[in-house]
């Protein structure tokens, strides 16, 4: 492709770009690039390339002076192409495009070269790094010849919002968005919203009662005109893209008509089961419930539901159904079937929360083997006034414990379980120590590796605990066992630990052991991920776009994440993220539309032979066949710009903006100039 007769073929609708006058700018990025890449050498090298009018290097291209440099050159030298060699386009492509646009140049006459993340940060040989930077620069400069002026494509945003997961994060986001006057669909899988927080008695570090600060929010969600609350429901299918998602929600049957039931619970008393027989999931199976039940007194919506597995009428259909007679509002309907609702929303917030580590996977602590070993979530229910023992802390055989051992880091910071620290267990263990001490005045031991109290008021809470006489033993427990060495260990659980501060092994007999289990992703995180087309980190948490600068965004526009589904965090952080996600959603809605990359594909009619091989290729069914003209054509609104059809078209009649064949061929040629002449590696043309 000899350089001089470059054809300038845009799609004909723009003013002619004339011969290319390229401005090239290489950035030092402080030392990030300059330390490994000889930026002056690259600047000189670019100056010698054909079509380059001006070539500069500058310390911080993305800074305002850096951008003004470009704008001044565009105006004074009449540049019609800009190439900047600096960091990743994912970071600052947007910044430089805006700068070019402000100077009157079409933003798509700009191209970026990644010589930081792909070069200086990953190579330690300065000479080969500089050589690579030069190749990438030459490729970009040859590519930018073929850039065409494009207009941004804007897509309207449907103002309705879908929030999946009704924990504290989901509730906060729903209220914030609803108060802004936008309509929210809040979908929750459990029969009630409230998530894990509804199970707690107190919250750290202020010891606020969880129910007191949560139930008002739950009832305002129920009462809010802008929120459609669908509990006991799950998302089945999701289609579309930012601005217009088509979502199908499956509403599992409660066998109770929600609108009629007022939660008087007459039917529960009238059930033929005189006393509760089945393990109550909400109370972590510490108590029993009937086949017809309500998760907990302040459940929202305050509606009962049937458990088809345990209600005998679903098996034998011969139950006297005393429950139906007892309900004067005729709210019970045992013929209910799953209902599928199709909704259209513009944005989605995922706040599906976490799961606690299954303590049985650490057999050395004896959970499941010794009855008096509990998980922290079980203790949260025991200590709760509306819990199975209405706040009394008693072991499974009913005695008040005189000594309790709380073991930190169960399932966390452990190669055989989870490598990560679950962030909240130290603080909630301190809270549980306080509550247990308060309720039973027992000897309380906390076995920790590092006491992590990183929040506001957290360290002060730890001080308070120490003065209350809780024993803090620094050491990771190796074993909880039931055999005694000395008389006081008889029929007690003995905790074997090295008190590393004293440097001696101790055997501490206790009546009750509490395992501070860590946090892990929910089992179905994988399916949720595929449903919403977002990615997960290696451990299984939802992956944010940028850990520091975009923690609630995902790589998919329009889908946001908040709360523990993105990683272990406590309530204050979850609420903060919920607010951030709500703000992101509201900013999209108030903008009314979103500008999409104009990288859609289009078909040049006269080349198309009507072979239809591209039609099945498109996952968004954006290509259709025009019987009249016997040609295929692409609906620009549906095309997402993946380019798969462009590569598949046998006659090459489909072209794609921003990633056109010519642009990529020129990039390949630029990268490999002088390559392949394996004997004399000439750099003749290098000026």
């Amino acid at each position: 492709m000899s350089e001089n007769n470059i054809k300038m073929n845009g799609n004909g609708t723009h003013k002619s770009a004339g011969t290319p006058k390229i401005g090239f700018y290489v950035c030092h990025c402080g030392h990030n690039i300059a330390s490994q890449v000889d930026v002056e050498d690259v600047q000189k090298f670019a100056a010698g390339l054909p079509g380059v009018t001006i070539s500069r290097d500058y310390k911080y291209m993305c800074s305002d002076p850096g951008q003004e440099l470009i704008q001044k050159d565009i105006k004074e030298l009449g540049l019609n192409r800009i190439v900047v060699a600096s960091c990743s386009p994912l970071l600052h492509e947007h910044t430089f495009r805006k700068a070019a646009e402000k100077a009157g140049l079409n933003p798509y006459f700009f191209h970026m070269v990644n010589i930081r993340e792909n070069v200086s940060w990953v190579h330690d040989n300065r000479e080969s790094a500089t050589k690579k930077a030069k190749d990438l620069t030459r490729a970009a400069i040859q590519r930018v010849f073929f850039h065409k002026p494009l207009e941004k494509k804007s897509v309207p945003i449907n103002p309705d919002v879908l929030i999946v997961g009704g924990g504290i994060a989901g509730i906060t986001a729903a209220l914030t968005i609803a108060n802004a006057g936008k309509h929210v669909y809040l979908v929750e899988r459990e029969p009630t919203i409230g998530g894990h927080m509804a199970m707690f008695d107190k919250t750290f570090p202020t010891l606020d009662c969880a129910a007191c600060i949560l139930t008002p929010k739950m009832s305002s969600v129920k009462a809010h005109p802008n929120i459609t609350l669908w509990t006991y429901s799950e998302v089945e299918k999701v289609e579309g893209f930012v601005g217009n998602y088509k979502v199908q929600v499956k509403r599992k049957p409660r066998y109770v008509i929600e609108e009629l039931c007022v939660g008087c619970m007459e039917c529960i008393d009238a059930c033929i089961y005189k006393e509760a027989k089945y393990p109550d999931e909400f109370n972590q199976k510490l108590s029993k419930r009937k086949p017809i039940y309500i998760p907990f007194p302040q459940a929202t919506p305050q509606v009962v539901l049937f458990d088809p597995e345990t209600c005998i009428d679903f098996k034998s259909h011969r139950c006297k159904k005393t429950c139906i007679e007892s309900c004067d509002r005729k709210a019970i309907d045992l013929k209910q079937v799953p209902e599928y609702k199709d909704i259209n929303v513009g944005t989605v917030i995922l706040s599906t929360g976490f799961k606690t580590y299954n303590a049985e996977l650490s057999p050395q602590y004896g959970y499941g083997k010794y009855p008096n070993v509990y998980t922290s979530l079980e203790i949260e229910r025991l200590v709760n006034a509306s819990g199975p023992t209405s706040g009394e802390i008693v072991t499974r055989d009913g005695i008040k414990p005189k000594s309790v051992g709380i073991i930190h880091c169960v399932g966390s910071r452990d190669q055989k379980a989870h490598k990560w620290c679950s962030k909240v267990c130290c603080m909630y263990s301190l809270k549980l120590a306080h509550l247990i001490k308060e309720h039973t005045d027992a000897e309380v031991y906390n076995f920790y590796i590092d006491m992590r109290t990183p929040g506001k008021g957290y360290e002060e809470f730890y001080d308070k605990l120490m003065t209350e006489g809780v024993h803090f033993v620094r050491g990771r427990v190796a074993e909880v066992s039931d055999w005694a060495l000395v008389p006081e260990e008889e029929n007690k659980l003995t905790i074997r630990v090295e008190d590393t501060m004293v440097g001696m092994v101790r055997r501490i007999p206790v009546d009750m052991v509490v395992l501070a289990v860590g946090l892990e992703p929910r089992e179905d995180a994988g399916d949720m991920r595929r449903l919403f087309n977002i990615s997960c980190s290696n451990e299984g948490w939802f992956l944010e776009r940028h850990p520091k600068l975009a923690p609630v965004n995902t790589f998919t526009d329009g889908i946001f994440i908040a709360g523990a589904c993105q990683g272990p965090k406590d309530i204050p952080d979850s609420v903060a993220q919920a607010g951030a996600a709500a703000a992101e959603v509201l900013s999209l809605i108030s903008a009314g539309s979103i500008e999409l990359e104009p990288n859609t594909a289009f078909i040049t009619e006269d080349n198309c032979s009507g072979c239809k091989s591209c039609i099945p290729i498109c996952p968004y069914t954006a290509i259709s066949y025009n019987e009249g003209t016997k040609k295929a054509y692409i609906n620009e609104a549906l095309c997402k710009g993946c380019g798969t059809c462009v590569a598949a078209c046998p006659s090459g009649s489909i072209t794609q903006n921003l990633f056109d064949d010519e642009e990529i061929f020129s990039e390949i040629d630029g990268l490999l100039k002088f390559a392949g002449i394996e004997l004399e590696e000439t750099e003749a043309e290098h000026a």
């Binding site: 386009p89 590569a647 990633f659």
Partner: protein, 167 residues
Amino acid sequence: MPEKNIKSNYEPKIVAFFCNWCTYTAADLAGVSRLKYAPNVRVIRIMCSGRVDPQFILQAFASGADGVLIGGCHPGDCHYAEGNYKMLRRFRLLKRMLKDLGIADERLRLEWISASEGEKVKLVINEMVEQVKALGPLAIPQHLKNINEELKHFPGEEIREEEMAHA
């Protein structure tokens, strides 16, 4: 392609097509985590691995690349649902064709690398550079040049200049 005795300081040139959503982001992650790997790979960013046209790969080899690496999302993770499956189909056919052209198997490689696998980018690149270095240069432009030289002395055969310039 007879095995030549490879010059000791021979550095293979590898062109890589990384999909914007997964592998390109993973390469950025490798950069942010300062993982060090061989400098022989030049990355071209495309929106989806489905965009990689077999012609790009052939053009890369023809322009002097010693190896081509394609990075896409894991099956099921593609931002556009199926782009990577389409790429896999083309890749299988192209591999067979390259074998017929006498281009060694290790010179073309397809890897599924998700956005969080920065480490894998480093491992794949280092491994591929070693393999291609062991194979030695492909140097197709050099062979084309030699062929054109020979054809020039072929009596009576008239070769147009432009074609020569293309090499």
